[in-house]
């Protein structure tokens, strides 16, 4: 729980931000048809079912309320201020949430910590099924955004863009992307084509993107043939995923997915020929000792590589509230920051999302891993008093990993 002084400090800084930057906050298209929602830090409540006619009204509200989180509905309503079943749903943007929480990342989330609720044993990474000491199953978790996590989320976002534009024919002009301000990216499609799609239709889109229910045989995989690299849709993705997988898979990995020794040996013996085969019809029928079942297992891995790991619930929820661009994230003090499709590769979320560029604050950190805000790395810290740039200090305060010093912070 965040202490009163710390909370007041965060509130004051957030207020400053909205006073100075409200002009940068652009309302979504057709704002009068959207529902807005605010989480209030002090009251710890969600204020919902708000609606605004102009950007000015919305900005005034932000300055007055100083919410810790600001949301708007992906949906368009006739009457956005009414109760859910009386709003009159008119349609919704197609939205995607890619969060490091849902992706197995190379950093293995070693920066995250868990604490057993019962015996207070702690550990790093994702919490175990049961506490190794007391067998309890409940944990407090503390998660941190790191460069590796955010890079993984970015890769998934790029894959998603590829699927949306090439397979679904979504125009790049209809897509907008942004860093959420915490652990991932949001992607919005505002298109006439998809606005009226209901939950079931959106589920079909989700299943396509994640590769759920995919049957390789329906994409041309048989005893004698398989997809080619330049095929359209999932066909080509299966081929490219298989190419990629076989190029990097170690014998141990192949064994792990259930291939027999003979098949593994054959695959590594013929590596060159397999690579060569992609110029023609692919390796599907030419490697002895690799049964159709084994190819099936390899393709399963290929599909995992090619699919984009999105949060399936967010996209299928046609009443979802999502964070508004350029507003602050209550868990980090970073702002939700948009980027263009062309610039996403070079986009640096932990730099672009910094909302406070001046001043420092002295805080007492209980525990924090090494982290980066802007160009600077800080930490790791453990039970120490440090003076930090304001953005870094706020980050720790919002995370609940630090408190403001009692003697008043030395803010310049």
């Amino acid at each position: 729980m965040i202490k009163i002084e710390t909370q007041a400090f965060i509130q004051a800084k957030f207020s400053e931000y909205y006073e100075k930057n409200s002009m940068n906050i652009q309302p979504p298209a057709s704002m009068e048809k959207r529902e807005f929602g605010f989480f209030l830090l002090k009251e710890r409540i969600m204020l919902r079912h708000k609606s605004y006619k102009t950007a000015e009204e919305l900005r005034d509200s932000l300055k007055k309320l100083v919410p810790s989180n600001v949301y708007y509905s992906s949906a368009y309503y006739e009457l956005p201020e009414e109760k859910m079943d009386e709003k009159g749903w008119l349609g919704a943007d197609l939205i995607f949430d890619i969060d490091a929480d849902h992706i197995p990342t190379p950093c293995a989330k070693t920066h995250d910590t868990w604490t057993c609720r019962k015996c207070k044993t702690t550990g790093s990474g994702t919490p175990p099924e049961r506490c190794p000491k007391c067998n309890e199953q409940k944990f407090e978790e503390k998660t941190w955004p790191c460069d590796v996590c955010l890079e993984s989320a970015k890769e998934e976002t790029i894959k998603l863009i590829d699927i949306l534009t090439k397979d679904f024919g979504v125009s790049t002009r209809e897509i907008s992307i942004g860093f959420s301000g915490h652990r991932g990216y949001h992607l919005h499609v505002e298109s006439e084509e998809t606005v009226a799609l209901g939950s079931i239709g959106r589920k079909e889109i989700v299943d396509y993107i994640v590769g759920i229910g995919l049957d390789p045989q329906l994409h041309g995989l048989s005893r004698i043939a398989g997809p080619n690299l330049d095929d359209f849709g999932w066909k080509g993705r299966i081929a490219r995923g298989t190419y990629e997988y076989l190029l990097s898979a170690t014998p141990e990995q192949l064994e792990k997915i259930g291939l027999r020794k003979g098949a593994i040996q054959s695959l590594s013996e013929h590596k060159e020929r397999i690579l060569e085969s992609w110029k023609y019809k692919g390796p599907w029928a030419m490697v002895k000792g690799v049964s159709p079942e084994s190819w099936g297992k390899i393709v399963e891995e290929a599909v995992k590589k090619q699919a984009a790991q999105i949060d399936t619930v967010v996209t299928t929820d046609i009443h979802r509230l999502i964070r508004l661009g350029n507003t602050l994230h209550g868990k980090t003090g970073l702002k939700k920051t948009g980027t263009s499709l062309a610039a996403i590769e070079e986009f640096d979320p932990l730099k672009s999302a910094v909302a406070f560029h001046h001043g420092t604050a002295t805080v007492v950190v209980s525990e924090a891993p090494k982290f980066r805000i802007g160009d600077e790395f800080h930490g790791p810290y453990r039970n120490e008093k440090v003076e930090l740039p304001l953005a870094a200090a706020l980050f720790l305060l919002c995370k609940g990993a630090a408190r403001i010093t009692e003697d008043g912070s030395s803010v310049r």
Partner: protein, 286 residues
């Protein structure tokens, strides 16, 4: 006499005011239409598709597009195909490129069947005031025939006590996770709660199940459970998501024998109850 028979049939079916009869009739007409379409040329199919404002275009068959004759906008595709259960209709298993799904003549005919079915169902919405007695007699006779053939209700009664042994694997796992106070996703909680309410568990017992959560707040939980039970707000009683939806959201972690034959967790429950009953009569209070 082919042509006038259709409006008369519509009138008679609409007069039955029975949604099952209406659905059955619409489906039969749609099936007939689609079987006729399968033998038609591209032009006729295009005409019908245009009538339903489908974004469909004919294409020349090319070697890498096997035998496809048409390309259909993916939203039009989803609207008609999402309710067809066979896995070959799943968007994931289709060739999708630049927003279009590639289809054979037989496939587009099958999708048009859905359009026709909805079109006829919509036509059957009309309220017919009164018909001459001679026709009303025929309508009533048709109704009677239908009930004799199909039976009046198709749902079996669900016993009042809750039989844990008949839970499908997904629900059983959610139940265990919840009782031990471990984290369950929003959709997991929704599925579990609606499932239990629908098999006859009381709201009190459902609320009790969530007590082991560290962040349990009775007022909040009660509100939500009562809402799902249809006791508040819109008074809609919610039912659990279909198996397909549970798969999308990772709630289904594997199927057993019964799962393979069903598409909804509640149907699983009914079927498993039947199996259990056959094996041994369930003792009261078990």
């Amino acid at each position: 006499m082919e042509i006038p028979s259709f409006p008369i049939a519509i009138m008679m079916v609409a007069t039955t005011e029975d949604s099952r009869i209406k659905r059955t009739y619409a489906l039969a007409e749609a099936k007939r239409a689609s079987s006729l379409l399968k033998g038609e040329g591209k032009q006729t199919i295009m005409k019908i598709a245009n009538y339903f404002t489908l974004k469909l275009r004919p294409i020349q068959p090319r070697p890498n597009l096997s035998n496809y004759n048409f390309a259909l906008d993916f939203t039009d595709y989803i609207r008609n195909a999402a309710i067809i259960q066979d896995k070959k209709w799943k968007l994931t298993n289709r060739l999708l490129s630049k927003g279009e799904v590639f289809l054979t003549t037989v496939e587009i005919s099958r999708l048009l069947e859905e359009e026709v079915r909805r079109y006829i169902e919509q036509k059957l919405q009309v309220k017919v005031k009164s018909l001459p007695p001679s026709i009303m007699n025929r309508v009533n006779r048709l109704k009677q025939l239908f009930y004799e053939k199909r039976g009046k209700t198709s749902w079996e009664e669900i016993p009042s006590e809750v039989i844990i042994a008949a839970y499908p694997p997904c629900i059983r796992r959610l139940h265990e996770t919840t009782s031990s106070g471990r984290h369950v996703s929003h959709i997991g909680r929704f599925s579990l709660t609606t499932f239990l309410l629908n098999i006859g568990m009381t709201t009190e017992n459902v609320i009790d199940l969530f007590r082991s959560f560290a962040d349990f707040k009775e007022r909040m939980t009660r509100y939500q459970v009562e809402h799902l039970a249809g006791l508040r707000g819109s008074r809609t009683k919610y039912i659990p998501p279909t198996c397909d939806t549970l798969r999308t959201h990772g709630v289904c972690l594997g199927m057993d024998e019964i799962c393979r034959g069903i598409r909804h967790p509640l149907v699983y429950y009914r079927r498993k109850l039947r199996v259990l009953k056959m094996k041994a009569p369930v003792a009261p209070g078990a």
